[in-house]
Assembly symmetry: C2
Homo-oligomer: 442 residues x 2
């Protein structure tokens, strides 16, 4: 990168700065606080969630600064007063952030991210943290379900066109962490080293005077191992033309329309009859986890998924919230706090989370709640501690950002997914795969 990246500080809801303004005035801005990022329930009747986004958030935290441009906007719109502007000019996160590693599973109440610092430091990160984790985790959770449905068959993410242009890049990352093997999105390849793929669209065939011309030009340019898109006109003649042009050594064909179980079987039969028994079939038409599962017995070699993965397959946001759960009072003592009214109850206090296991299979999400600074409970042999330190006293720990962070998250996800009980792998709506068990230390 040549220039310094743009500031992320205004990717923020105004009320955070309004609260900061008022808190600087009444002195509560310096109270130490603990905010938890968690979900009250798994959206969409999912049996588990997949945490993704923390690595991106840490990079955005590096760029969270109130520079000249940001301060000018806040001054011109009178969003905050002069002492707050002076405070923001020096704003820097000096607190601590712990939480679940990317790729980890989560359940209702899991303390996915815990931000501890002064109110002034921690409150302004609310919107950014939620934006990143809500979108990325929604995509990752959908992607994991698709990856489970696909079994050993390779999956590629190709939904960039159905998500905002920057969300598309994040979606490619989330899908890769959750088990996809590649993406169509070049920027995701550049930023995080995710393998990119793609050959040709229908416009390629339409550009040429005949399908045969198009196939020949593609094979000339990309070699025999390329994948030809055979459904621009008529699938049967498309297959015939493909093999006539490329021979039986053709790498693959792609089908992007029609009733896939029927069409895939017909194309396989035709390819085999023509002697192209090694030519792979990729399908890409409106797939989601249910369609993928329905194709399990069909002669399909690979899947390309677009819309449904980048929009969370019916659940486009993970429903995560960011709540104050503990703070110091005027005397410096810790007080657990929680909203108490109506339908949105949360649990105050500091949390330590474990996944209990029975012979390698997860049996519960156990969350130990303490009022204040008691020593955190240790993991037992049959329980895995779930929280990691991402930021300590303002210093971002190494290993979570960039391409290496993505690779580590993908590996971690593959490992922990093995702990899921079999019932977690079904696709229907249901309760979480394991119960959340709350343990109060007091």
């Amino acid at each position: 990168m040549s220039a310094s990246p743009p500031s992320s500080a205004l990717l923020t809801d105004r009320y955070e700065l309004t609260m900061l303004d008022a808190a600087l005035r009444d002195g509560t801005a310096s109270r130490r606080c603990v905010f938890d990022l968690f979900t009250r329930r798994l959206s969409g009747g999912r049996r588990f969630g997949v945490v993704v986004g923390t690595g991106r958030l840490l990079s955005l935290l590096r760029d969270f600064r109130f520079g000249e441009d940001e301060l000018r906007f806040l001054r011109d719109t009178r969003a905050v007063d002069a002492p707050t502007l002076a405070y923001l000019e020096e704003w820097r996160f000096t607190g601590t952030i712990t939480g679940y590693r990317e790729g980890e599973l989560y359940f209702p109440g899991s303390p996915i991210l815990t931000v501890e610092g002064t109110f002034a430091e921690a409150v302004v990160l609310e919107t950014l943290a939620l934006s990143v984790l809500n979108y990325d985790s929604a995509v990752a959770t959908a992607a994991a379900r698709m990856s489970i449905a696909a079994g050993d068959r390779p999956l590629a993410e190709m939904g960039s066109r159905r998500a905002g242009e920057q969300s598309a890049v994040a979606a490619a990352r989330a899908a890769f962490i959750a088990g996809f093997g590649a993406t169509s999105n070049l920027e995701a390849g550049r930023r995080w080293g995710i393998p990119t793929m793609g050959t040709a669209a229908h416009s390629w065939t339409l550009l040429h005077d005949s399908e045969e011309d198009a196939f020949r030009a593609q094979v000339d340019a990309l070699g025999l191992d390329t994948t030809l898109l055979i459904d621009t006109y008529d699938i049967r003649s498309g297959v015939e033309t493909a093999i006539r042009v490329a021979g039986t050594g053709l790498g693959g064909v792609r089908i992007d329309s029609g009733d896939l179980p029927i069409v895939a079987a017909e194309v396989r039969g035709q390819l085999d009859a023509l002697g192209a028994t090694g030519t792979r079939i990729t399908v890409t038409s409106d797939l989601d986890e249910y369609a993928i599962a329905a194709l399990a017995a069909s002669p399909v070699d690979a899947y390309g998924v677009g819309t449904s993965v980048v929009t969370g397959s019916g659940t486009p946001t993970a429903g995560l919230v960011y709540k104050l759960v503990a703070r110091q009072d005027a005397a410096g003592s810790w007080v657990p706090v929680a909203k108490a009214s109506a339908d949105k109850v949360s649990k105050g206090g500091r949390k330590t989370a474990f996944r209990t296991l029975d012979r390698g299979t997860a049996t519960s999400e156990t969350i130990v709640v303490a009022d204040g600074f008691e020593e955190a409970p240790r993991a037992r042999d049959d329980a895995r501690g779930l929280q990691t330190a991402f930021v300590v006293d303002g210093e971002i720990a190494p290993g979570f950002e960039g391409a290496s962070g993505v690779a580590a998250a993908r590996a971690h996800h593959a490992t922990v997914r093995e702990e899921l009980p079999v019932r977690a792998l079904a696709l229907s709506r249901a309760d979480p795969a394991i119960p959340t068990v709350w343990v109060d230390l007091d």
Copy 2:
């Protein structure tokens, strides 16, 4: 902006560059092409769509360049060969882009955006154009429905936390164009001059030793006209405390939980009984267009909408596609082209679009199709031409980007929405409000 903005060129599916690579090799890269961006149907049973995103796309087109970083990535990953790298280094869009103004309504087949240029110029814009317009138009369409349901009551967008951090900024813009009055998102305020709003979250109350302390500090900092969030503990005592602290001149209270029609009526009654007859009630809990419509008879003064607007209220992407519809052949003659197989039929040829009107009310989307370069039909008195030139011979026309572009789009939307027939204003799933009428010139 101090530094030059990052390149948008890799926000692109790899297959566009793969096709370019093959087309440079076989000479078809220089064929002139016409691509249309349109939808085959209105997703989600919507009665109309709202075009948003074009102004953002034009700005991203300014930054679409293959610089050192982009070329290095493409070279290192062998995505394209050396002649293609040399071509990309000089890539610049020299073609023409026409289409519907932002804020305009669209229907099945509407040529929302038409890109004309060489294949090489036009094919690489596919992903970026679709990413921007699919997301922004999905949000704008949902927002317009909410704005219709809200009637004269003000609507604020506050869903940033439920969308990717950059999509959140685009969502604020889309909602504002489609009739919302303000956003919580500060970056949207900075980029496009959209009014921002926000006062306090539950964490503000929880930060303090009592609700009364929190309210008092907020009123001290933000003045009597502020809005107090009254549902952190018990709504009834929250209202009582609010008026005790602020007096009957309090600007407003906000309710973010509970059964809103009941709670709003109770709070109104309590405020009135306390003498706070001018104190406004804002509700913000899980609203969508249906919930807003259900509150029409309730004593609510303003709505804040989060999740549902930034996720398109069940339709998170608009289903727009980008298709080659005409191209020159080897001899330079124009040929209309279209995919013909199975379920995804499109209509080849160059299109001119009109909205026919009867005494000011829209009666049809009339799309005239021509094979090639015949003179475009003129609008009649009872029909409004729908296409505008955004880019001519590579030069981006003024007036569509930035804050002034957003203001113009918002005004345009308010005007054209008045043309909708009454049946278009209902929220249930149905056919498009007006039929699409195809007229073939040949």
